[in-house]
Amino acid sequence: MEEITEKKTPLISLVGAPNSGKTTLFNYLSGKNYKTVNYPGSTVEYSFAPLLEKFNLTGNILDTPGIISLNPASPDEKVAISSLYYHPDYGSPDVVLVSVDSSQLSRHLLLVQQMLRAHFNIIVVLTMGDILERKGFQVSEDALSKRLKCGVVRINGKTGAGVPRLMELIELSLSSKKTESKFNDPEFDLHHKLHEEFHHQHERHHRRNGDSSNHRRRHFSLLHLLSFFFAKRKCHDEGAHNHGNHRSINDLEKLHGVDPELLRNSHKLIHIFHEIEKIESEVLVRIDGAESSDKQKSNFNAANNQPDSFTIKIDSILLHKYWGLLFFVLIMAATFTSILWLASPIMDLINIAFSSLSQYVSQTLGDGWLSDLLANGLIDGVGSVLVFLPQIIILFLILGLLEDSGYLARGAMLVDRPLSKIGLNGKSFVPMLSGFACAIPATLAARTISNKRERFLTIFILPLMTCSARLPVYALLIAFVTPQNKPWIGGLLLATIYVFGILNSCLISGIINKFLNRGRKEVEDDSSFILELPTYKRPVFSIVATDTYNNAKQYIKRAGPIILTLSLVIWLITYFPNSNPKVDETNKTRNELVQLKNSERLENSYSAYLGKFIEPVMRPLGLDWRVGTALVSTFAAREVFVSSLAVIFKVTSTEDKLQNSILKQMREATIGNTGQKLFTTATIAGLIVFFIFALQCISTIAISKKETGGWRIPSLQIAFYTITAYLFSFLTVNGLRALGIQ
């Protein structure tokens, strides 16, 4: 929004059903040179870009998430639709391009009809003409344009055929909009003026402040004032970021002069469809150009309007009773193995890079707090954010490929039945899968679930998925209990932990669901699963890669600041107050001296006080203040546990053998002066169990609060997971000891 002028740059919004060729069109118009923007206060993403210069037209294009109608069914659709009426940062669109798959004409015209009824200034963009042509038909632009009384253009998003015509239509529509008022309804005009007035204020405000952070509040309060004025009805201030705002969309519809009944009433919808069927029969023409006769029409409906036969053939295997299950398991197994094995060498590289950088900095700058802050606070902090990136990128790449190919919807369909038994939904499948990389994008993915209860329950159990931050911790702990000559035991243990995570989430979800279901009547349940199974196609790598890039960027933007801030806080409490400890300096290399100082400093630091303070709590788990301190530090990110242990146990070694030297120190550590070993099979098992349950991740808590619209769910999560982690860890340690396993 840098170049705000008195004359607003026209805003061209792009809407359409998922898979209607919307993104291809957007990429063509923007030259793929776009930025991803959020709907303010929410995490729903938009692509925003100026029109390419070659089109000789000034304008900004806003791509919106796919919708099939103007009636929202889930939180992401609510945001998508309200932004269509009014986007807090970009205002109302001057013209809306509605992408319509020509081969899906009768379904996709619903949105077009609703948009027309909602007084949007639209241009219908017909895509996928090639698929329809293969069936021997074509949509007549003229006939459809006459029938709908709006611009219609056939385009090919890949070759750009039809785009010049589209530009003409946009220009025409923008200029006609200025000269004549479309609506004669005086009341609507008034709304319209107020709308413009807001535009004005909004922009002035923009110029003054140069930022957009306060706009939302301003916008919504003004909007509510308006709706109060016109509807004489009090509105609570619940912005689009709360997702719970049907009312807000109603307000927007009112401002737009729309009768909500027209869009919502089932009978009216059926009526619209009947109208569409009539239109379809009029505008579909045979390729040779002749108007379709009645005979040809029926020909199209019966024989040609069939789902893709190739897709049905593949589905007969992938959705087969037995083969389907086998392929599902194979695909999931392949996904997980690639997350684990492909990512680990890159993660090692990142680890090595950052630890050498940190070493280099501390050696160059010498001793002192600044050097330590940079090396151990900042660089390690950045490293602990970036180290998860490989897994997240690989997971999103695979998810993207699965989605673009069309399989993901089938996966959701396959697991819907079992998941619905435990209070979840087939649509919980993607969030749960993402949870194995990181709970943050996973929580965001849950917003496609329309039923609030199922969505919250999905978000609730996501921290149980074995996220990538736990992996370094498990690697260390498992290495401790794995015999040197039998490495396969370690692999087996890790696999068990993953499976345990899934079983746990199902069990806990099932129990909570039972608990919630008490006293609820079957009829109240509005849980639903309606999902389009897209045609199978070869995934387009560039689209998947762009999506992955955006997801990775989102992760860094979201989790980055929190992890980094917390790393700095933890650095503070581990560095002070004894910032310059005295140690015996004889016969020690510089490196050893630094490590020794670190340990001495830590032993008298605020974090150690904290660790000692919680020691009585750690004792029943067979652990002492040192592990307590490490556990406190894991709130930045779970994997910080490993580096904290390293510092606490005076590990002096070169970085590549870090794990071995920690292990050596861990084997020798005793509790106090008792001579009793601190780390035993029992306490390690207890620690693993602790990490399986515990919700030690500030970022997850923050995102959970945001997505559920309050502290209720996150505080329940914190309480529940802390208690279960402690309880089961206690039971594990003492159970094993009772069995004679130390």
Partner: protein, 72 residues
Amino acid sequence: MKTASDLKLGENAIIVDIDTNHPSSRRLIEYGFTPGQRIELVNKSIFNDPIALSVRGSLVAIRRKEANCIKI
């Protein structure tokens, strides 16, 4: 009255009515399940639920509970 849930694999029928009292009915209509349309049961999930129906040239997976409000 028979519903879409009673269809056998590969069997097709014409929609007679949609039970608009059902909470999912509006969504079903929006996906194109309207009276007069021909639907076919193309596939079933492993546990026989949800089912995949073809309607207006596309495939839509719905639960049997939802299929029950599509009268055929």
